[in-house]
C-alpha cells in the first residue's frame, strides 16, 4: 500500500534509524574489537592503537593458543561432550516427546504432569550433588552427559511441534498400511521435523559447549575438564602459566605479559568459534522454534 510520508513520519524514521544504528554499534563493536585485537600485535593492543581493524597483523596469539596443551585438551573434551551429549539429548527428547504427542496414548497425562512438576520443583544444589555422588559419577566423563540427558523445556517444544505439524491422517494411513510405530517415527516423523530437530540440537549443543559449573563441581582430573574450565583459569583467574608463552621468544617479562593479553583475545575467539559458525545455518528455524516453545503454546 502506497502512502505519502508525512513530516512526523520522517522525524520518526530518522529517530528510529539513530536508535537502531546505536544498538548495532554497541553490540557489534566489542565483537569486532575482540577479533581485531586477536589479530594485532601485542604492543598495538597495549598502546591502544587497535580501534576497529587489526594493527600490525600477527597470528602470535593463535599460535600461543594452539601451543597450549591444556587448551587443546579442553577443546577436544568439549567437542566430545558436545557431540555425544547432543546426540543423547536429541534421542531422549524424541523418545519422550513423540509418544506424548500421540492422541490416546494411555498414561501420557500422568507423564506430562510429572514433567511439569519437575519443572516447578528443583531440589537444588546439595541434594543433586549427593545424588551424583551416590551414583558414583564424580570425576567420570559420563557426568557431563547423563545428568543432562534431557531438558524438559525442549521436550515441551518438541511435543507441540509434533502435534501441530504431523497430521493424524498420516498416522492412520500408515497404520492401515501396516506400518509399525518405530517405522512411522523413522520414516515419517523425523524427516518432517527437521526444523525442530535443528533448533533443539542447537540449544543442547550450546548448553554443552558452554557448560562450566557442573564441570567445576564434578570433574577434578585435568584430562577430563572441558574448555570452559581452562578458559576460566586463564581468562578469569589469570592463571596463565608462563612456560606456555616461553616457547615464543621471551625477551623480558613485559613481552610475556603483552603476549598474555594477546593470547586471551585469541582464546576468546577460538572458544566462541564453533557455535558462531554453526548458528547462521540454524538461524532461519529460530523464530518458528521459539514461537512454538513460547509460553502462549
Amino acid at each position: 500500500m502506497k502512502y505519502k510520508n508525512t513530516g512526523t513520519d520522517q522525524v520518526f524514521n530518522i529517530v528510529n534509524g539513530i536508535i537502531l544504528a546505536f544498538i548495532f554499534i554497541v553490540v557489534a563493536y566489542p565483537l569486532i574489537y575482540v577479533v581485531s585485537a586477536s589479530l594485532s600485535s601485542p604492543t598495538a593492543i597495549i598502546q591502544g592503537r587497535v580501534k576497529l581493524l587489526p594493527v600490525d597483523f600477527s597470528l602470535g596469539g593463535y599460535k600461543a593458543v594452539f601451543a597450549n596443551g591444556a587448551v587443546v585438551t579442553g577443546f577436544l573434551n568439549s567437542m566430545f561432550y558436545m557431540i555425544v551429549g547432543t546426540c543423547v539429548n536429541v534421542m531422549m527428547t524424541v523418545m519422550l516427546a513423540y509418544p506424548l504427542s500421540r492422541k490416546g496414548f494411555y498414561g501420557g497425562k500422568a507423564i506430562t504432569l510429572l514433567l511439569i512438576f519437575t519443572m516447578m520443583f528443583n531440589a537444588g544444589l546439595i541434594p543433586n550433588y549427593l545424588l551424583i555422588d551416590s551414583l558414583n559419577l564424580i570425576d567420570k566423563r559420563a557426568v557431563m552427559i547423563i545428568p543432562k540427558a534431557l531438558n524438559v523445556w525442549n521436550v515441551m517444544i518438541t511435543i507441540t511441534y509434533f502435534r501441530t505439524t504431523i497430521p493424524d491422517e498420516l498416522l492412520e494411513a500408515s497404520q492401515v498400511d501396516g506400518c509399525t510405530d518405530f517405522n512411522f517415527i523413522g520414516k515419517i516423523v523425523l524427516p518432517l521435523s527437521k526444523p525442530i530437530l535443528a533448533v533443539i540440537s542447537l540449544f543442547y549443543a550450546v548448553q554443552h559447549w558452554n557448560s562450566f559449573f557442573d564441570a567445576m563441581l564434578y570433574l577434578n582430573s585435568e584430562k577430563l575438564v572441558p574448555l570452559q574450565i581452562v578458559l576460566r583459569d586463564i581468562l578469569v583467574q589469570n592463571q596463565l602459566s608462563m612456560d606456555m608463552i616461553t616457547s615464543l621468544d621471551p625477551e623480558s617479562i613485559s613481552v610475556r605479559e603483552n603476549l598474555a593479553v594477546l593470547l586471551k583475545y585469541a582464546l576468546i575467539v577460538v572458544s566462541s568459534l564453533p557455535l558462531l559458525i554453526m548458528y547462521p545455518f540454524i538461524q532461519k528455524y529460530f523464530v518458528k522454534g521459539i514461537m512454538i516453545g513460547s509460553v502462549k503454546g
Binding site: Y3, T8, D9, F12, N16, G17, I19, L20, V26, V27, A28, L31, Y33, I46, G48, V50, M92, M95, L96, Y98, P99, L100, R102, F105, Y106, L114, T118, N122, A123, G124, L125, I126, P127, L130, L131, A149, L150, D181, F182, W209, N210, F212, F213, L217, L231, R232, L235, V236, K264, Y265, I268, S272, Y279, Q283, V287, I290, M291, S294, V295, K296
Partner: protein, 315 residues
C-alpha cells in the same frame, strides 16, 4: 451389572491400546526412568534441610534437627542474611527495570525499518552474543575494563577522564553485571516480540493509515497493545525468577573487593554448602529451599496480579 460391564469394556479397551502401543511405551521408558532418577530422587534429599546431615550416616540415618527448622532460623539470624537478600534483589530488580523494556523497544524499532536486508543483518548480529559462554563474557569484561590496557579505560583517558579500576571498585559491580547481561541478550530476547509483531493483522495498519495515523501513533495504538499480552507473560515469568540471578556469572565476577555487593543467595548457598572447608549441607539446602519458596510465592502473586490488570496470565 451394566456399569460393571462398561468398566470391563473400558479396561479391555485400555489393555488393547496399551498392547497396540507397546513400541511407544518402550520408547518412553528410558526418558521416564531418567526423570525419576535425576529429578524426583533428589527431591527426597531435600529433607536434609530439616536434619543434621552427616555424610557417613546418609540421608535417612541422620538425626532430625532440633528444633526442626533450626537451619532456616540460623539463616534468618545469619549476619549475612540481609546483605545477601539485598544484593540479590538489587541486581535482579535493576536488571529487570533496565533490561525488560529494551528488547521491546528494539523489536518495535526494527519492525519499522524499511530495508529487509539491513533488518536481517542487524537481527543476526544481535543474536550472536547470546551464544558466547558466561566464562568468555566475564573474560571479555575483564579485558575491556582493565585499568591500563582495557579499551574502556583507554577511551576514558582519550576523552580526558580519570581511569576507573572497575574490578577493583565495589560500586561498579551491579552496572557491569546488568549491562553486560543486556548486551548479551538484547537480540535474542527480542525474537519473540518480533515474531508477535509480524503476526499483527496488516488490515489494522491499513485502516489506521486511511484514518491518517502517523507511524508513531500506529506504534502506540496498534503495535504496543499487540505485544502487550506476550510482554506481560514474560514479565510474570521474569518476576518469578527474580531470586535466580545468574549464578555462574556472579560467581565468576566476584572478587574480595566487590564481594560486599556481589554475594547473592545462590553464590552463598554454593559457598556454605560445597566450597567451604567445612561443608554445611543441611544449612545450605535450607537456604536453597527458602529461595525456591519465595520464588514460587512471587510467581503466583504476580500471575494473579497480571490476571486482574490485563486479563493475560501464565496459568
Amino acid at each position: 451389572m451394566k456399569a460393571l460391564l462398561k468398566t470391563r469394556l473400558l479396561n479391555q479397551r485400555k489393555l488393547n491400546s496399551i498392547k497396540k502401543d507397546w513400541q511407544l511405551y518402550l520408547l518412553v521408558a528410558l526418558p521416564v526412568i531418567y526423570i525419576i532418577v535425576f529429578k524426583l530422587v533428589p527431591l527426597y534429599g531435600v529433607q536434609i534441610a530439616l536434619k543434621d546431615y552427616v555424610a557417613r550416616i546418609g540421608i535417612t540415618g541422620s538425626e532430625w534437627a532440633n528444633p526442626l527448622f533450626k537451619h532456616f532460623i540460623n539463616f534468618f539470624n545469619d549476619y549475612n542474611f540481609w546483605r545477601v537478600i539485598r544484593n540479590t534483589l538489587t541486581i535482579s530488580v535493576y536488571g529487570l527495570v533496565a533490561g525488560f523494556p529494551l528488547p521491546i523497544l528494539f523489536a518495535l524499532s526494527l519492525n519499522y525499518l524499511g530495508n529487509k536486508k539491513i533488518k536481517k543483518t542487524i537481527q543476526m548480529l544481535t543474536y550472536a552474543p547470546h551464544f558466547i559462554s558466561t566464562v568468555v563474557i566475564v573474560g571479555m569484561l575483564m579485558q575491556f575494563f582493565q585499568t591500563r590496557t582495557g579499551m574502556v579505560n583507554q577511551l576514558f583517558t582519550y576523552l580526558g577522564m580519570e581511569e576507573i579500576d572497575f574490578f577493583g571498585t565495589a560500586g561498579t559491580f551491579p552496572h557491569m553485571y546488568v549491562w553486560s547481561q543486556i548486551w548479551q541478550n538484547l537480540g535474542f530476547s527480542s525474537i519473540i516480540y518480533i515474531a508477535t509483531l509480524t503476526g499483527i493483522d496488516p488490515a489494522l495498519h491499513e485502516a489506521a493509515i486511511m484514518d491518517g495515523a502517523n507511524k508513531l501513533q500506529r506504534m502506540w495504538h496498534i503495535d504496543l497493545p499487540g505485544i502487550m499480552p506476550t510482554a506481560i507473560v514474560l514479565l510474570t515469568l521474569n518476576l518469578g525468577k527474580i531470586l535466580n540471578v545468574g549464578f555462574e556469572k556472579v560467581l565468576l565476577m566476584q572478587n574480595p573487593i566487590n564481594i560486599k555487593l556481589s554475594e547473592i543467595i545462590t553464590t552463598y548457598v554454593y559457598k556454605v554448602g560445597l566450597a567451604s572447608a567445612i561443608p554445611q549441607f543441611s544449612y545450605s539446602t535450607a537456604i536453597g529451599i527458602f529461595k525456591s519458596v519465595i520464588g514460587l510465592i512471587l510467581i503466583l502473586t504476580f500471575n494473579k496480579l497480571s490476571k486482574k490488570i490485563s486479563e493475560s496470565s501464565l496459568f
